[in-house]
Symmetry: C2
Subunit: 223 residues, 2 copies
């Protein structure tokens, strides 16, 4: 069975690839070059895809920075220091990003004959982005069931799978390790430097996960 | 009040612009260069935006053709001759296109502070695309209410407006004429030639609309 996998090149999406591979799916990874500050993650995504022997890795290019409204696409806005306990949605939120990404994934699933879409959203150890929550995914699924030719005319339902949604970051690290996911090839840092900053939300969550899992994070961090 | 308007450069979206202008909205048009066969429509969108004195016309570029699955983005698939009475969804359907476009429009509305999104979908004189139906729009609205920082944290609801959804093409032409919409600047033909083909679904629907409205279509057609 074919599965489209949203692959950013980060920890969670790479573990998602490993889950889809372990389920015996034919993997169709899709990544986005959306003018993100941390475009370094795309190189990671390519390395992860190569690790899994992927022949066709779809990279969608789009000028999302023109929309603005986020520290991740607007170089004039600084990436805030990490604070995953803050009550507000942080400046690294990108308006409607997961909705845009899932919409492309749905289009790709429809055109390629895939029946599943894997996305590594997580609503436990996360930055509070509204479009990572299970309720968002459930509503997207309803929309998908209603909006594609595949579903409406051909009766081919495309399901959105979120294997990590209820896992703590620690358990994501453990799962990735168990499945042999190439965690050493991944990048999570928002700052986009050669070495991970160790200070942004994404680094803090990742480091916490590895520490609690009892593993050393194999990627380099700035001293 | 600011309003994002999905502006393809065709008849319906241009009448939508006119409706939003007549409602007194500050217009924020968004168009898509998605490697469509009929990229000529983008030039029309720019002319329509200029007609309305728009300073910032956001054009999103994206390689949607890489996804495939449509006669409008795959040059190996011919645009079928028009037949709006056919039972099947035609080859000009683009997987998840309106979902992708609305998702970008939602992101733009969020980042720009717009409270409304206008889209010229129509489910009467149309090609049967599932993502033009009012049920699709209603589900998208629910998702929008749940997925943005604007709605979830700031209580700022962004509403999707479909002023043409229940109008016959004739009535869209009449409305555009009444509101002074620059219909002479629009392009509807899927084939993308210098003159409209007069044979595809889009041309047939448009010609029917003008004929029933009792106006001559001001754009040139191939003999």
């Amino acid at each position: 069975m074919k599965a489209v996998v949203l692959l950013s090149g980060g920890l969670d999406s790479t573990v998602c690839m490993a889950v889809a591979a372990a389920a015996g799916c034919e993997l169709l990874p899709i990544s986005f070059d959306y003018q993100q500050r941390h475009s370094r993650e795309l190189a990671s995504a390519r390395r992860v895809a190569a690790h899994y022997g992927i022949v066709r890795h779809l990279v969608i290019t789009t000028n999302m920075a023109a929309i603005g409204g986020s520290a991740l696409t607007d170089m004039a806005v600084d990436v805030p220091a990490g604070d995953v306990a803050r009550p507000d949605i942080p400046a690294t939120y990108v308006p409607a990003r997961n909705l845009i990404f899932l919409s492309y994934a749905l289009a790709y699933a429809e055109s390629s004959g895939a029946e599943r879409i894997f996305i590594g959203v997580n609503a436990l150890d996360y930055s509070g982005y509204p479009d990572c929550r299970p309720e968002f995914i459930a509503l997207f699924q309803r929309l998908a069931d209603y909006s594609t030719k595949a579903a409406v005319q051909d009766g081919r339902r495309i399901t959105v799978e979120t294997p990590l949604v209820a896992l703590a970051k620690k358990d994501i690290v453990l799962l990735g390790n168990k499945l042999g996911a190439p965690l050493h090839l991944t990048t999570s840092c928002y700052a986009g430097g050669e070495e991970a900053c160790g200070r942004c939300d994404s680094c803090l969550l990742r480091l916490k996960g590895f520490a609690e899992a009892g593993f050393e994070d194999p990627i380099p961090y700035a001293k």
